[in-house]
């Protein structure tokens, strides 16, 4: 009976609010589009180091600029690849890179590796690429105008080791061939065109290569040969060991960390050691943290790790067979705790692997009218407590005030980021 009454009330409130909502005028479409464009104008902060500006904007390069850059990079890349082996076949300086070298009559654009996941994007086309196409997405404008003899290959390359994803990418040896590609669903934006979509997912040199191939007409012997020639020029030359650590910032004890990556040889069963250099550790040196072995295609992964056990910001790297990956920095927020002691008194303490003695935290109260936190005073951490330092205080605030303690970056660095304690109501 009570439940039935509740259902009626909920239905009635839903109807009342909907009636009210219908009377609220909404901005016209052109205004919404303008709002969206304004929001998207601002460059995205890089995921690895929030707060620092990226020195260049690979995701927003328009094709006109990108093609010019690609020609420069491509020529350098070509020399690099050419120098990789001499006449005697001996390896020279190792070249690292991803992307297409242009086949005759083809244009190529590539982003290099982008973001914390080390993903790279590369596009090759035997037609001119439209200046309206964003560099990091499918080139829709080009595809909409693709002639019957046109072909576009969009490749995304990422390290193996991400569980659940590797199984989609069957290990193959380069070069890839169009005949191995499967028919793919055409994106909705291209539904009105005659474009034929094919997809070729492969594990190559420890990397997953997701090649989406678009043809202006069903594949013919000529178009297949042309695409194969361009696929032969797809370069997958990763570091000997690739490492990805996520997330780049550990926020709380409940956060879990994922480490994955691959070895370029693509071998299964190779031992990989993950090493960690902790901030503040003397002498500063890498120490073994985890050990694993590679799976099919050379990928490895460690999931649901408790980064807080290591307890401090630092740098990770992977070592396998004498080869070392690039170093990946992971930062950690400092842990701030607060508890009531009774009699209107509270204790705040900060724990970590380094000393916080005589450092301070800010005691803040929530100003409900303005919806902001106001700093009331500094609390100096002078008492040793548990695995950290603490301070006691008696807040002089009205009953029901919300309080929290914050350790600012100036006090938490260099081995931690700022930390926020739980919120208490007096």
């Amino acid at each position: 009976m009570r439940r039935g009454r509740s259902e009626i009330d909920q239905r009635r409130i839903g109807q009342l609010l909907a009636r009210l909502g219908r009377r609220v005028p909404t901005p016209p479409e052109h205004e919404l589009r303008a709002l969206a464009r304004t929001a998207a104008e601002k460059e995205r902060a890089p995921a690895t180091e929030p707060g620092r500006r990226r020195p260049w904007r690979p995701l927003h390069l328009r094709w006109g600029v990108a093609v010019a850059v690609a020609l420069l990079v491509g020529s350098g890349f070509g020399f690099g690849v050419g120098s990789r082996s001499g006449e005697d076949g001996a390896a020279g300086t190792r070249v690292v890179g991803f992307g297409f070298l242009p086949s005759k009559g083809w244009n190529v654009v590539q982003s290099g590796t982008v973001g914390a996941t080390g993903t790279a994007h590369a596009v090759a086309a035997n037609v001119s690429l439209s200046a309206d196409d964003p560099a990091s997405d499918l080139p829709y404008e080009t595809l909409r105008r693709l002639p019957s003899n046109g072909a576009v290959i969009v490749a995304e390359l990422s390290p193996r080791g991400a569980k659940g994803r590797d199984s989609l990418f069957r290990p193959r040896r380069a070069p890839l061939h169009l005949a191995e590609a499967a028919p793919d669903r055409l994106p909705d934006a291209l539904a009105a065109t005659n474009v034929v979509a094919l997809r070729l997912r492969s594990g190559v040199s420890g990397h997953n290569v997701d090649a989406r191939i678009f043809l202006g007409a069903p594949p013919s012997p000529e178009s297949s040969a042309s695409v194969d020639e361009q696929l032969r020029r797809l370069i997958v030359a990763p570091s000997a060991v690739t490492l990805v650590v996520q997330p780049p910032i550990i926020r709380s004890t409940s956060d879990r960390m994922t480490i994955f990556g691959s070895v370029s040889s693509g071998e299964a069963g190779k031992k990989v050691t993950i090493q960690f250099k902790a901030c503040g550790l003397q002498p500063p040196q890498f120490r073994d943290a985890f050990e694993t072995t590679t799976g099919e295609g050379g990928g490895f992964s460690l999931e649901e790790l408790r980064p807080f056990n290591l307890g401090v910001s630092g740098v990770y790297r992977a070592v396998s067979g004498g080869e070392v990956s690039a170093e990946i920095r992971v930062q950690q927020r400092v842990a701030v705790y607060m508890r009531p002691l009774g009699g209107g008194r509270f204790q705040v303490w900060v724990g970590g692997k380094v000393s916080f003695w005589r450092r301070f935290v800010l005691l803040q109260r929530f100003e409900r009218r303005r919806g902001v936190w106001i700093t009331m005073r500094r609390l100096v951490l002078a008492e040793s407590f548990a695995q950290g330092y603490s301070a006691r205080f008696r807040p002089r605030v009205p009953r029901g005030t919300q309080l929290r303690a914050v350790m600012p970056l100036s006090q938490a660095r260099p081995c931690y980021l700022e930390g926020y304690g739980p919120i208490f109501r007096t």
Binding site: R11, G14, Q15, T26, P27, K42, P187
Partner: protein
């Protein structure tokens, strides 16, 4: 858990909550990769609903437009970190809810210049408006997310950073308060 359909009429401006359609999910994925055009389409699709929510939450169109702009800016920056594109809608509402809270306007007492609704007072709309605006901000917040935007209790909890139990009890008290005000 008490799951209730709040069955609205067919011309409801807020369609019932459902997973993103395939086209929307593709747009989210493209926007995550940096496509401003895809983001624009998402804003055209979801913007009106967010705006209506913000207007009713903040009781003012100018403040709602400011909050919408801030929401979109934060969404664009945060999209690459959205792990489940299918949860784009509750994720976006969570940002909007926080931006509305940041503005602080919803915690101010009701004012004479609060939202004016165009048109005649059909079906007691002004009465509903006054009752809704008279509610404490935290009641209005949870009512709008639960019954206007129609997120599930779990999604409301996630959007507001509350526990599900808190959402349940708060929405029950808010319902009671609203119905009492409406008589």
């Amino acid at each position: 858990m008490e799951m209730v359909s709040v069955g609205l009429s067919a011309d409801d401006p807020v369609p019932s909550h459902a997973p993103l359609e395939a086209g929307d999910a593709e747009l989210v994925r493209r926007a995550q990769l940096g496509s401003a055009a895809a983001f624009e389409e998402l804003v055209v699709a979801f913007g009106p609903r967010i705006y209506r929510y913000l207007v009713l939450r903040l009781r003012d169109e100018a403040s709602a437009l400011d909050a919408l702009q801030e929401t979109l800016a934060a969404a664009w920056q945060g999209l690459p970190s959205l792990k489940q594109p299918g949860k784009f809608w509750p994720w976006l509402l969570g940002i909007a809810a926080h931006k509305a809270a940041d503005s602080g306007r919803d915690r101010l007492p009701t004012r004479d210049d609060d939202l004016e609704l165009p048109g005649p007072d059909e079906e007691g709309v002004l009465e509903i408006r006054e009752a809704l605006f008279a509610l404490p901000a935290h009641f209005r917040e949870v009512l709008l997310l639960r019954y206007f935007v129609r997120l599930s209790e779990e999604e409301v909890a996630e959007a507001l950073g509350l526990r599900v139990g808190t959402v349940k009890s708060r929405s029950a008290r808010a319902r009671k308060a609203l119905l009492e005000l409406l008589g």
